[in-house]
């Protein structure tokens, strides 16, 4: 990550736009006629361009188009859906589900990320101490990552079942009244967040653990000589040096978590009523959760989600660029 050799290359590149445009050396004749080498370059580019256009650009365009037209099932099949501008977006914004869905999306994402990161970091620091079976234990922590989401989500919904779930029977054993994890509006969102945190910890653990490996042990030795205790070593050495890796982990986590759908849909279907609905489940419910699909509003919600991800994507790239030039 902290690749200092890049810096001298990256710095002089940053010149004004005019100079940049003139910069690429164009050898051989006038600009209008590409050299044969350029044709070859385009030919090499073609497969990936076609791939991107067919599988990414076109669906994105279609999704945008869907959200800007008034689709009924009839016009979906027969074509000719009238252009309706931002009507679908207005409809979505005015929907009573919008407020709760936005709040849940934000809470779900931020809480999941914060806890995943904190626990992942704690575990990563813990596993830097070598001890017997540490590798085995670390491998066990990766299990949630290896399981298909449908398996982990179904397992969680069995565990949290109000009447026959293991969690409630354990609570009963220690004298706590059963909690309606998945079926009460107060707990549904909490339950899906818990499940999502469990699934997200391994990712944080692995990335942060590998980040820790790059911190030189000499620094810890030096800190120890200066009389730093464990707590100080963490806050003064580990945490600052891990900052680049942390930033990437958090941003990737943010983008992953924003679009989490399967866990919520399998565990609660976004309910009861709207108490665990996020943008992702709402978009699905509009498009596919009813006998009569509402493609337009469904696509509109999907696009709002894409915009949110795009913002974080830009932040991610900004952070990455700053690190490369640092």
């Amino acid at each position: 990550m902290n690749n200092t050799t890049h810096a001298p290359v990256a710095r002089p590149v940053r010149v004004s736009g005019e100079a940049a445009r003139a910069a690429p050396p164009r050898t051989g004749g006038r600009a209008g006629r590409p050299r044969s080498g350029q044709w070859a370059a385009w030919a090499f580019l073609a497969p990936v361009t076609v791939y991107l256009v067919v599988f990414y650009a076109y669906p994105l365009y279609r999704n945008l188009d869907l959200s800007l037209r008034d689709y009924t099932v009839r016009s979906f099949v027969q074509g000719g859906a009238p252009f309706s501008g931002l009507a679908n977006y207005r409809k979505v914004l005015g929907d009573p589900t919008f407020g709760p869905a936005l709040l849940h999306t934000v809470v779900f994402t931020l809480v999941s990320i914060a806890v995943q990161f904190a626990l992942g970091l704690a575990l990563a620091v813990f596993f830097t101490q070598y001890f017997r079976l540490s590798a085995t234990l670390r491998a066990l922590f990766l299990v949630p990552w290896l399981l298909p989401l449908i398996v982990s989500a179904s397992t969680w919904s069995w565990l949290l079942n109000s009447d026959s779930g293991l969690v409630n029977s354990v609570l009963h054993g220690v004298g706590v009244a059963p909690v309606n994890w998945l079926t009460s509006p107060r707990w549904a969102l909490v339950s899906v967040i818990i499940a999502n945190i469990w699934i997200g910890i391994p990712f944080n653990l692995v990335v942060l653990y590998s980040g820790l490996q790059t911190i030189s042990p000499n620094l810890y030795e030096a800190a120890a000589l200066d009389g730093a205790n464990g707590w100080q070593k963490f806050w003064r050495v580990t945490f600052p040096l891990l900052r680049p890796v942390s930033a990437i982990t958090l941003l990737l986590g943010l983008i992953y978590t924003l679009k989490v759908f399967d866990i919520i849909w399998i565990m609660t279907k976004g309910g009861p009523t709207d108490s665990s609905t996020t943008f992702a489940t709402w978009s699905y419910r509009l498009g596919f959760g009813n006998l009569l699909p509402q493609f337009g509003p469904g696509a509109a919600v999907g696009n709002l989600l894409i915009v949110m991800a795009l913002i974080f994507g830009l932040v991610y790239i900004r952070v990455q660029r700053r690190q490369q030039s640092a």
Binding site: F55, F76, V77, D163, L182, L291
Partner: protein, 418 residues
Amino acid sequence: MNVVTRRRRVLGASLVAVALAGGLVACSSSSGGDSGSEASGPYTIWDPYPQFDNSSDWVQLLDKCGSAAGVTVKRTAYDTTDLTNKALLAAQQNNSPDVLIVDNPVISTLADAGVLTTTGDTKVDTSAVEPNLLAAGQIGGKTYGIPIGANTLALYYNKSILRAAGVDATTVKDWASLTAALAKATAAGKKGITFSAIGTEEGSFQFLPWFWGAGANLTKLDSAQGVAALSLWTDWLRKGYAPNSVINNTQTTSWQEFATGQYAFAENGTWQLANAKKTGFDYGIIPIPGQNGGTAPAPTGGEFVTVPVQKHTARYSTSEKLVACLTSSDNSYTTDTTLSYIAPTDPVQAKQVAATPELRVWVDAVHAAKGRTSDNLGTKYPKISEPMWTAVQAALSGSKAPQAALSAAQSTAASATK
């Protein structure tokens, strides 16, 4: 080079967003429905029975009907929740199958999309079918298919629990006697009743017998009768007669609860008959009672055989032969026995009851049943059903009182169906 980096940055950001879009956009071009360009060539049939493989009676029947009509049949099975979208996409691509077997409440949606032909166009004979079953496929006086069979809901009960609780199942005739029976079963240390109130169409399907059994009408969700039905369920939950898990139960998970042998009653469908025999305890079945007695109208389940619109109308005559073959009396008996359905016609029902007397209660339930899209609701039904299941969830989870939940549902439904 600044331009290049900026461009690269934007491209990178777009890729992140686009990767996300890839997960959201279901844009798949459908394969399979090869309609051919002439009246000959293989005839495609889509059905929602992926549980049947090529050696099953069902697929053999399809092949037999194909050879009787002088054509080869190419059959594709889809998951029932998948089939609506597949059918819509196929129609969009002019790629519809020749014969489509599809869940009855979807008919109005597909008919509205102009995907289906009417039985008048294709000369399919529907005269023998019971009118209450056929109604689910009728919109605006036109009929868009013929039911292959019907299923509906009734109450399964666990005989030994009722015996231990001192309840005689034959005395359960209305809501009051049912609630009393639940109270006794709960007092005897067992659980009362399980059903499915999940926030999907399944939840509405299970709620409707109580809603209709109170005399409520889908055009007015918050009528006194509708509130009475929802209050019945809410009270059961509050008093512990029904488990809290019903809010998240599908009909399958609800059945699993009943199969533990801890529940006195379960609201479930004809299709669980085969599983009922595997539970290892003695069970009985009674129709769902209306509020003040009688059998409550349960919604009809089961599929319709339809003929989607083709570019080459010459294909319809052969398609009609296939449909007629699948729904003829003899074959209907085989099919409905295979599917664990009740036949849609009187003579075949009589034959089924003669062979299996315990089907009697189901035949009665099917007679009393009512299509969800009937009463000319058509595509209005899905717009009413979603607010309804939301209201059920709100009331059962305690976030709203039944009256308030249904009033909110009614205003949502009214503005959606306006």
